[in-house]
Symmetry: C2
Subunit: 225 residues, 2 copies
DNA sequence: GTCTATAATCAGATAGAC
DNA sequence: GTCTATCTGATTATAGAC
């Protein structure tokens, strides 16, 4: 019932329609389209939060619609299925990842870049903003594999991170015996690591301590050095 | 539709009943009870397999019943709910873990014991015999927390493994700066590590190679030493 | 205890008015 | 595009005969 998003006021529609009708101009997004995109963003944001909180199977479309404050049928005008909605949530987080990756200084050491990325993913999970999709649901997998925006986003992020992995291995900072793809998967897996939640439930550590703890075990391992 | 289990022949019931009626003796399990337990074992085994394959939410009670070759209503005579069935599957795997732990030679180094346990868990997952329960489902969590056999089994395994962790840390084989509980969680997490499945999908490595690869990253980390 | 048949509920998706 | 109301199918769980 708690709507933590601010939907666009619906009574402003006729006014904006008139304005956009008066203005003739170059190909740009109209206010109407902007409002549409804003609503879609609100939907996807709510879906992301619920996906992080309950996971795909336990999240219901009713909850998403209620959270945004619209009817379920309206939601289905934007997204043809629950799977496509989840895919949109993944595209959104991949977009945020791209923005974050682009903001990183180029001069840092590859290993530090990787650690920074993993920290960012874990913080996102602890903040309840990392949608978690089950890898077992085949219909969801099929939808994701057909989604070009998802595949492109995943590819772009993987190429950037994979490049750092190879550089770090060439420098000898990362174990060169490990296949780069295995390293990539291992880093991605930190984004949905259940250890984060378990440690938080223990109540012995702050979120930052948890992040650094798991980061250490990820890169340095459990054994002594 | 494929029943990979061999249920006890039902036409043997009357005969066994007569035999058990003739024999008076010390308090022992009757054949009837044994048959009942065998059927329950078949149900739990099927549930374990389906839980590993599809996860709790996507597994249906119909599928379990069909897999065992009994009617769904019969299954509900044995287990009062789907959650209790999943709990029984967890109890079963914990029992297998206890048997395995008890079979380990006592003289081995604690660190090697831990690695042996993690190998066993990962092989079980790759064999499709490790039931995976979502940590998000609250009704399932509540059922598990009320299940004494589950809690006892988990406690016993955790105490044995925790003991090895402390010994390994005292010896300096395991990083003493890590909280023992964090190490325990990290080891348990290997039992449901999605990296295993992803690496298998890549098709570049055998199951044994995958196990050793993930084991290395778990204990030695990604960084060079 | 096992079965067939069914109740009860829930969730994804849609129809049709506005 | 948004709404209310509904359909449709799947799923957990149970009733009642044998």
């Amino acid at each position: 019932m708690s709507s933590n998003t601010v939907p666009v006021a619906s009574n402003a529609r006729s006014a904006t329609a008139k304005i956009s009708a008066l203005k003739a101009g170059p190909p740009r997004v109209s206010f109407k389209t902007q409002m549409l995109q804003a609503r879609e963003e609100a939907i996807v944001q709510a879906a992301s939060r619920l996906l992080a909180e309950k996971g795909f199977d336990l999240m219901t479309v009713d909850q998403v619609a209620a959270d945004v404050g619209i009817a379920k049928a309206s939601l289905y005008k934007h997204f043809p299925s629950k799977e496509d909605l989840a895919a949109a949530a993944m595209v959104r987080v991949l977009g945020r990842a791209r923005t974050f990756l682009a903001s990183l200084p180029r001069e840092a050491a590859p290993l530090d870049q990787l650690k920074t990325v993993v920290r960012w993913m874990m913080r996102l999970q602890l903040a309840g903003e990392m949608p978690s999709l089950p890898s077992q649901n085949s219909t969801l997998r099929a939808t994701l594999m057909r989604n070009k925006a998802y595949l492109d986003g995943l590819m772009e992020a993987s190429e950037q991170i994979g490049s750092w992995i190879e550089q770090a291995q060439a420098e000898g900072a990362l174990d060169p015996r490990l296949p780069a793809i295995a390293v990539l998967y291992t880093l991605y897996a930190r984004a949905c690591d259940p250890v984060l939640e378990f440690l938080r439930m223990g109540g012995q550590h702050s979120d930052e301590e948890i992040v650094e703890l798991v980061l250490r075990t990820c890169f340095c391992g459990l054994s002594s050095r």
